[in-house]
């Protein structure tokens, strides 16, 4: 039995702290990897954060309402016993039967099997004690294990974002990346802040490079206004972060995007006659609750195009491009109170269209009710914004760093078109691509839009 820390996750490039809003579990509860166990409020939204471990909740370290920096421990989870093999989040729903008693039947390729036997070469670097057998051997391939070992990352603590919760190369690289810059504060000032009940994050540093020193903490502690401020969070109005904080978060991120990313923009008009006809026929036969929207089809086509043009699907970090580990399509969802979130539909290129539609409905609903999950906001590999409902014909969007492209769709409109030498009226949509010129050139972007067009001419294959 080992103890694991459940820490405040980074739910996006722009997040450095979050407010623990609610615990969904209590000490003593059994939790499975991938299960939401806490609600965290970021500058953008309230997010359900999934557990990285299977085991039992030992202790909750942080009270609801506390602001916690990314990486700080929130709870202690005692890892599961040997006998209870863990399951990746993707398969969590099917857990509980079939594999628990089948320890003998292990094939390393089977991600979900998790044979209770340490894989060779998977020792945690520097650790004298081998990792507990209830870890997740098999959830990471040999390359990933090798990379993790070389960069000193403990695979068992990683949250796999690959198919079936598999730990991917990108997960390891993300974990190995240096943590986001922290507040500079001297050890004594930090200690003093604790003693005086001052939140160091609220103290303005006057030392070198803005470092917080004891004098700054004392000054902050001496200010009566400081004490009057409740230490808990400002009660969130609608279960989500207030519009001002969200506005500021969007402002920061978009400013960064426009400052750092040399965008180039491409646009094309796609004939949707085939798609719309197919969609109408599909919807006519489908139960009402399973009807498809054009938006789902456009998303699906964009995801397929991203798979075929992987140069646009991934991240630009520290001067180089890292391809995404699958196509996780960020969907820009505008919130009714104002503001925007862009949670991911995982593996949008491979899930069948009806499932993608259901996922979209669920995602938009939860985005608006402030119940997104950590994995959904953390890892989109490219984002799609569909402003068709708002009546515009085309959208030239700003890329969401560190992604390298953003696909925009306008409204599906009927336009006169020349078809086979005759003038016809066809439904068309303007598809645009904003792409990061550091990662790709116009030719790649053009290829993307071409593939997108081709996909939309063959709706039955989507």
């Amino acid at each position: 039995m080992t103890m694991a820390e459940f820490t405040m996750p980074s739910l996006g490039a722009d997040m450095d702290e979050g407010v623990l809003q609610e615990w969904l579990v209590r000490p003593g509860d059994r939790v499975r990897k991938g299960e939401p166990i806490a609600v965290v409020e970021t500058a953008k939204s309230a997010i359900e954060v999934e557990c990285f471990e299977t085991g039992t909740v030992d202790r909750l370290l942080v009270d609801p309402g506390t602001t916690v920096p990314v990486g700080a421990p929130l709870a202690m989870i005692s890892a599961a016993e040997k006998a209870a093999p863990k399951r990746a989040p993707g398969t969590a729903g099917k857990a509980g039967k079939g594999t628990a008693g089948e320890a003998g039947r292990h094939r390393p390729e089977e991600a979900a099997q998790k044979p209770p036997e340490p894989a060779p070469g998977r020792q945690v670097p520097g650790g004298a004690v081998p990792a507990p057998e209830d870890g997740t051997p098999g959830s990471a391939g040999p390359l990933v294990r090798h990379l993790a070992e070389r960069s000193g990352v403990d695979v068992d603590t990683l949250h796999g974002t690959g198919p079936g919760g598999r730990v991917t190369r990108a997960d390891v690289e993300r974990a190995a990346a240096p943590p986001p810059s922290r507040q500079r504060i001297t050890p004594f000032a930090r200690r003093l802040a604790g003693e005086l009940g001052v939140d160091p994050a609220s103290v303005k540093g006057t030392g070198k490079d803005g470092g917080v020193r004891a004098a700054d903490v004392r000054l902050a502690a001496g200010r009566p206004a400081r004490e009057a401020v409740p230490r808990g969070p400002v009660a969130p109005a609608a279960g989500a972060a207030g519009p001002t904080t969200m506005r500021r978060a969007i402002a920061d991120l978009m400013t960064r995007a426009n400052r750092e990313i040399p965008h180039y923009y491409l646009s094309t008009t796609v004939d949707l006659a085939a798609s719309m006809a197919w969609l109408r026929e599909y919807n006519r036969l489908a139960p009402v609750s399973e009807r498809l929207l054009p938006a789902a089809m456009l998303l699906k086509a964009a995801a397929r195009a991203a798979r075929e043009v992987p140069e646009l699907n991934g991240f630009w970090n520290e001067g180089h491009f890292t391809p995404g580990d699958g196509v996780h399509l960020g969907v820009a969802v505008s919130l009714r109170g104002g503001g925007l979130v862009a949670p991911a539909i995982h593996d949008a290129d491979t899930v069948p269209l009806p499932e993608l539609m259901a996922g979209l409905k669920d995602l938009v609903h939860r985005a608006r009710s402030g119940r997104l999950r950590g994995s959904e906001v953390a890892d989109p590999t490219l984002t799609v914004t569909d402003l068709g409902d708002q009546g515009v014909e085309s959208v030239l969007g700003v890329i969401y760093p560190p992604q390298v492209s953003l696909v925009g769709f306008g409204r599906v409109v009927e336009r006169p078109c020349a078809v086979d030498g005759l003038l016809g009226v066809r439904p068309v949509v303007t598809a645009t691509l904003s792409a990061d010129h550091r990662a790709t050139d116009g030719a790649v972007g053009a290829r993307f839009l071409r593939v997108l067009d081709r996909r939309l001419q063959q709706p039955e294959e989507l």
Binding site: T186, P187, F188, A189, R191, G207, R213, A214, A215
Partner: protein, 332 residues
């Protein structure tokens, strides 16, 4: 003893204080004798033993050949044989010729004999730069000796310590190395009668303060006190800690000072890399991390052989302005 004690406060020099201490020890104990290069007829290279040959005779004030290994080895043998030798080495640079004797014999015999062979030996030597004696006479290697278990390393920085550290050093059953900074011999100071027993293990707060701890020893102490005056004129309140003993280090005094001031400057004439200052800083980081309100600063010598030319020598050594600047960085 009564004659000494009745004497009132008086002014004397570091050199005279050392001589008084040795003479007193030799009068008090027949087993004590002094040997080294030029200590007899010449009165010591730095004049410390001037006049002692006349009082104690060539049996107890012994001039030796120019062979540090031989006469330090002889000193170790004499100590094993029941004597209480004081061996003077001209400078720390030349002590390297006796390093084998000091490390492999003096520091080790007690351990290797299972506690049967203590080596009650005192070795005095000059250290440090500042007198245009160039690279073969000017280095500060006491930090190397402070690395060695089995010996005690003292660095008297005041007239008082020059006068009163020798007796307990001679009384110590283990080898004691006494480092006398060359720039201190002519320093004069008030000498009060001894009123309490001397504790070799303790550092001393030479100037109490609350804003920054200036930790130093030996020849740098006067410079650090001058820097403290300069800082005080600016409204700062620095504390000056004189380590006195480089092995063992008085961690309690260091830690208490850091807990008062939360800021530290360590001043050491040795080279920065692998220095005694490094040891002091590492200890502070280990024990006082949660007391630190600024990165620890070090002021050490430039990492070059100490130059002969006056301007270059000054530039290579820690100076008052360097110490003051480092202190201001910690509070700035």
């Amino acid at each position: 003893m009564s004659g000494e004690a009745e004497r009132a406060m008086r002014t004397t020099t570091y050199r005279e204080a050392l001589r008084e201490a040795m003479s007193e020890a030799m009068r008090a104990d027949d087993r004590v004798f002094l040997m080294g290069e030029d200590v007899g007829r010449y009165g010591g290279c730095f004049g410390v033993s001037l006049g002692m040959l006349e009082e104690f005779g060539p049996e107890r004030i012994r001039d030796t050949p120019l062979s540090e290994s031989a006469f330090v080895g002889a000193g170790i043998g004499a100590a094993l044989g029941g004597m209480r030798p004081i061996v003077e080495i001209m400078t720390v640079n030349f002590s390297l010729l006796a390093l084998d004797q000091i490390l492999n014999n003096a520091a080790t015999l007690l351990h290797m004999s299972g506690g049967q062979l203590p080596v009650p030996l005192v070795i005095r030597m000059t250290t440090g730069a500042g007198r245009q004696l160039a690279a073969q006479h000017s280095h500060s290697l006491e930090g190397w000796y402070a690395h060695i278990p089995g010996i005690r390393v003292l660095a008297p920085a005041t007239v008082e310590d020059a006068r009163y550290l020798l007796a307990p050093a001679l009384a110590d059953p283990d080898p004691v190395l006494v480092f006398e900074h060359g720039s201190l011999y002519n320093a004069s100071g008030e000498l009060a009668p001894l009123t309490e027993p001397v504790d070799l293990d303790r550092a001393r707060v030479r100037r109490p303060g609350t804003d920054v701890s200036l930790i130093t020893y030996g020849g740098c102490l006067p410079k650090v006190l001058a820097a403290a005056d300069e800082l005080a004129a600016d409204g700062l309140d620095p504390e000056v800690v004189d380590l006195r003993s480089l092995r063992p280090l008085d961690e309690a005094t260091i830690d208490a000072s850091v807990a008062r001031t939360h800021r530290v400057v360590v001043v050491d004439e040795g080279w920065r890399t692998g220095s005694l200052a490094a040891e002091v800083c590492a200890g502070i980081a280990e024990r006082c991390f949660y007391d630190l309100d600024a990165p620890v600063e070090r002021v050490c010598s430039a990492e070059v052989p100490i130059p002969y030319a006056r301007q270059l020598e000054e530039a290579a050594l820690p100076q008052v302005r360097d110490v003051a600047a480092a202190a201001r960085r910690t509070v700035g």
